[in-house]
Amino acid sequence: MIASLRWLSDLLGTRLEAAAVRDRLAMLGCPVDAMQSLHGGLERVVVGLVLEAVKHPNADRLSLCKVNAGGAVLGVVCGAPNVTAGKRYPFAAVGVTLPNGITLERRKIRGEYSEGMLCSAKELGLGEDGEGILELDTEAAPGTPFLDVLPVADTRFEIDVTPNRPDLLCHAGLARELGAVLGRPVRLPAIPGASEAPPPRATRTAGPRGETAGVPVTIEDAEGCPRYAAAVLRGVTVGPSPAWLTDRLAAIGARSINNVVDATNYVLYELNQPLHAFDLAKLAGPAVVVRRARAGESLVTLDGERRALTPAMTVIADAATAQAVAGVMGGASSEVSAATTDLLLECAWFEPRRLRATRRALGMSTEASYRYERGIDPEALPANLERAVALLLAVAGGRLDGTPVDVCPAPIAPRTVTLRDDRLAHLLGVAVPRADAERALTALGCVVLPREGRLTVQVPSWRPDLVREVDLIEEVARIVGYDRFPEEMRPYRPSVVPDDPSEQVAGRTRGVLTGLGLHEAMTVPLGPRHDERAVGVQNPLSQEEAYLRGALLPGLVRRVEHNWRLSERDVRLFEIGRTFAPGEGALPVEEIHVAGVVTGGRRPRHWSEPAPPDVDVFDAKALLEAAVRVACRGATLAAEGERLVARLPHGTVVGWAGTLEADRPAWAAPLVGFEVLLRADAAAAPAVRPRPRSPSVDRDVALVLPEASVAAEVEAVLRASAGPLLEDLWVFDEYRGAPLAAGQRSVAWRLVFRAPERTLREAEVDAAFQRAVTEVETRCGVRRREA
């Protein structure tokens, strides 16, 4: 909502200060997003008193003036016919830049120096009047800033009005809100040129049919239009608007069209009442019928588009065809034109939900539909129509024909809400004195009846949001002021809701992976279609972000490529996030995954040593192992082809690690990565073994493995057959090359033997060791390599 400070000031009958209004509105719940002074560039213009004005010796149309502008008396050359000694005018001294961009210089005009300029309204950007300089009706001392005395200064506010407050989409509503805290009533400003006597109020009908000036007005669709008022004006002259009206609209950024359109817009922005003027001569009948559109019916709207209508929409029709989409836009065929003399002026209330559905179906939104779908004041129709008629008669001439009609088949009952004193105190946390609550509600237009322990509150018709007790509690808090409630820490009971274990696991996983030198990334879960089963968004912004990810790694690989484009060679990233797969029901199945990618050297380069080797798949394996330990307890790893695969005990695959495909520049290292399911199992406390008191005995064995054999299998047999004295074993070397045959390799294990409570004898170690070696030679087809 765009509002003018001046307009608000006029409604409250006082001069408001812009910053104060901004702060007040913010504390009332309508923050000002932007505040613009509409006289920018005039800050250095001052009041100048002309002491003397004589004809220029060398030019007939120029005057030589002596001007007091607060300092020394200045000589000024002036070309305006109306310059008069003893009067005050806006004065711009040398060096001042005017809104038209001109910076004044000291210069000679026909042989006489001018030390500045007396300005016209046009030169100050305040209007079109450039004929003479702007005479100021003020006694202000010379040198006073011009803006302090300017009668047309204004500030434009862009106000963020929340969707529950349609009543604030107009100046009267905002003024009413300000008035509630300032203690001032709202009075509509007089219309320049309007007759003293107000036009007659509309006559209310009991049923769905009425008539004004011989034009029948019928509501056939009372559901879509509960109330419809209309007036007929004859003999109007469509033409330009008077300056006061164009200025007022210009202040809120609205363009002047003609006097009829401007008058209806004025009422829209003043009273939140959308109006529509039909050219009466173009209405068949003439008659007005508010009905549902017929199947197959269409209408060319004011914007020139042909709109296909459906019976779900309400239209305003004449005796023959639809002439307007109710509350959204009028039709082109009955539009007011320069030739129009007779008007039918519509002032109606349309049902918000129907209207919203209609304008969405038509794919359009107008100032009128925006207000109707939020809910205007249904009781204000007669008064608003009266204001509109008076304004139109003042700016477009003509006369009102007959008495306006107000068709309202079902009376609109006022809403009454009960507010309990104890509930008010309970929710707000402190007792609000009853007098304060009453005062707050009354200031907002409520009618308050005090009862025993409660208030019976009749809420104003312009507040569709006040329906329940809690709505009134908010109003009391708002008007009393949120800042009046204390910040007092009171006792509370702790939460019964347990911490989400997946959040705890995610936190520990982050710690582990950052410790391993990976930065945490946050990639976008939306991307292009990655496979047949991808979960799609029905209304994506682009095909590039039309599907939900099924895995984290593709997004991370794209981020590595991004870093490669920035010439970064060492890139180590991880992410914890949700993935999506089609589910049994309507919703997709979500899993929390952890994934990581690394490329570049195995450690940062240091001057003391050669460049470290690049990462390979064993780095990915290390990360997968670390991630499994912290985030996917119970999973085991197995080599499958080029990949390591993580499985749960029952066989479900939950993750993998390996080398990744990427768009890799020649200088970059290989890219490896892993991804694994994050399970919400809380980690078990580690079972700490007591520190052994007896010494251990080591035995090394190098085994030649044939091509098909894998280390894990050999190790499993060694472990199983070495007996209870074996404490641990691990691979410490691998060798390929002569004298081994191609495809063969030698893998060396260290076996550590220990008896917990005693020192081992060589013989028993040898026996256990030999048993293991023999077993592995028979069962795995390996042979011991001679030392």
């Binding site: 719940g29 923050p31 929340t162 969707p163 529950n164 309970h426 929710l427 707000l428 402190v430 809690v470 908010e474 949120y482 800042d483 409630f485 204390p486 910040e487 007092e488 820490m489 009171r490 509370y492 702790p494 939460s495 019964v496 809701v497 911490d499 989400d500 959040e503 982050r510 992976l513 950052t514 410790g515 391993l516 030198g517 930065h519 945490e520 946050m522 990639t523 976008v524 879960p525 939306l526 979960v535 799609g536 968004v537 029905q538 209304n539 994506p540 912004l541 939900l548 991004h562 870093n563 920035l566 060492d570 180590r572 996030g577 999506f580 997709p588 940062p604 001057w607 003391s608 050669p610």
Partner: protein, 346 residues
């Protein structure tokens, strides 16, 4: 293989063996430097010389000798480098110039949004809050209806929604988890709810179609607006600065009433008014309010007996303010030069 090329290959093998022995015996780094020149020097290197003379051989021989020479060159190069590093290490172990750069390990950083989310959750944990999450794909019921967004209400215009199917969508806020928590647990409830949300917003410097949000929910008997103000004030003073000014302004959310926007004194100008706060002296940090009775009713909670408050904020936006990030896209880029700056951050 011709005789000449066989001789050359044999000579290369001998050179390689000789170099290996000499490199192994070297105890000074300048010896290694001399050996490099002797064998690999561009002008007089002995291996280089053989490579240079390849042109005089026929094509077959050129291939064989070229390969052997390149292998010898690479092998000697590697030996030199390893030996040099070893000698260098030995040298600086005894008489180190401690102004030389330290040996580093890779260090990873938490994402700035994680830093902010964790800090927020930790502060509220001190007020007895636990931390919960919920699904990102939701139903209209949970995302809107049960949160008192009536179908066809203009408030829906503020939530430009990505739909997955009829009645299913990507959540536009973390508030559906409020509903899920209310349905699953009897009060007292005190939870923080971090998570990703989705809106159909095109990318620009301050908008992303996915963003993080964090909400809080407190429900018990006798929870009031005073408790809300106290909790948020406590949070703001711990998160921003001790003694920071906090302001509650009326606002509107369908699922709270009374509703408020919470501002803290602008951390740039400290209330004087600057371009960052648009001259107001305040910056908006969260929305908050008392849980609307309609939400309680939709979740089967007795709205007369229980009251509560909720609040929500954007950790991404807060991270941008706190760390001076000008563009929201920086949060999603995973640019390692940015993230490396967060290794020690909190």
């Amino acid at each position: 293989m011709s005789g000449a090329s066989a001789d050359l290959v044999a000579a290369l093998a001998a050179l390689r063996a000789e170099a290996e022995a000499l490199i192994g015996a070297a105890t000074e780094r300048d010896v290694l430097q001399r050996l490099r020149t002797d064998y690999l020097g561009r002008k007089a290197g002995r291996v280089t010389a053989i490579l240079r003379d390849l042109t005089s051989l026929d094509i077959e021989a050129r291939k064989a000798v070229g390969q052997a020479a390149n292998e010898a060159k690479a092998a000697i190069e590697a030996l030199l480098e390893t030996a040099d590093a070893a000698l260098a290490a030995r040298a600086h172990a005894s008489s180190a110039d401690l102004t030389m750069p330290a040996r580093q390990a890779f260090r990873g950083a938490l994402h700035p949004v994680t830093l902010v989310v964790d800090e927020i959750c930790d502060i509220f944990r001190d007020l007895g809050f636990t931390r919960v999450t919920g699904p990102e794909a939701e139903t209209e019921q949970y995302n809107f209806t049960k949160l008192n967004f009536p179908p066809g209400h203009p408030a829906l215009d503020l939530h430009d929604t990505m739909y997955l199917g009829p009645g299913t969508l990507l959540r536009t806020h973390t508030s559906p988890v409020q509903v899920r928590t209310l349905e699953a647990y009897p009060p007292p409830i005190r939870v923080t709810i971090p998570g990703l949300c989705y809106r159909r917003d095109a990318w620009d410097a301050s908008h992303a179609p996915v963003f993080s949000q964090i909400e809080g929910l407190v429900v018990d008997e006798g929870v009031s607006f005073v408790d809300l103000k106290a909790a948020i004030g406590y949070f703001a003073r711990r998160f921003f600065a001790p003694g920071v000014k906090v302001r509650f302004r009326p606002s509107f959310f369908p699922f709270t009433e009374p509703s408020a926007e919470v501002d803290v004194e602008c951390q740039i100008c400290h209330g004087a008014g600057c371009p960052v706060c648009k001259g107001t002296g305040w910056s908006e940090i969260m929305g908050a309010g008392m849980v609307d009775p309609a939400v309680f009713e939709a979740c089967g909670v007795d709205a007369e007996r229980f009251t509560g408050y909720a609040f929500g904020m954007g950790p991404g936006r807060i991270a941008m303010q706190r760390y001076g990030l000008s563009d929201i896209r920086m949060l999603y880029d995973a640019d390692v030069r940015l993230h490396a700056q967060f290794v020690e951050a909190r």
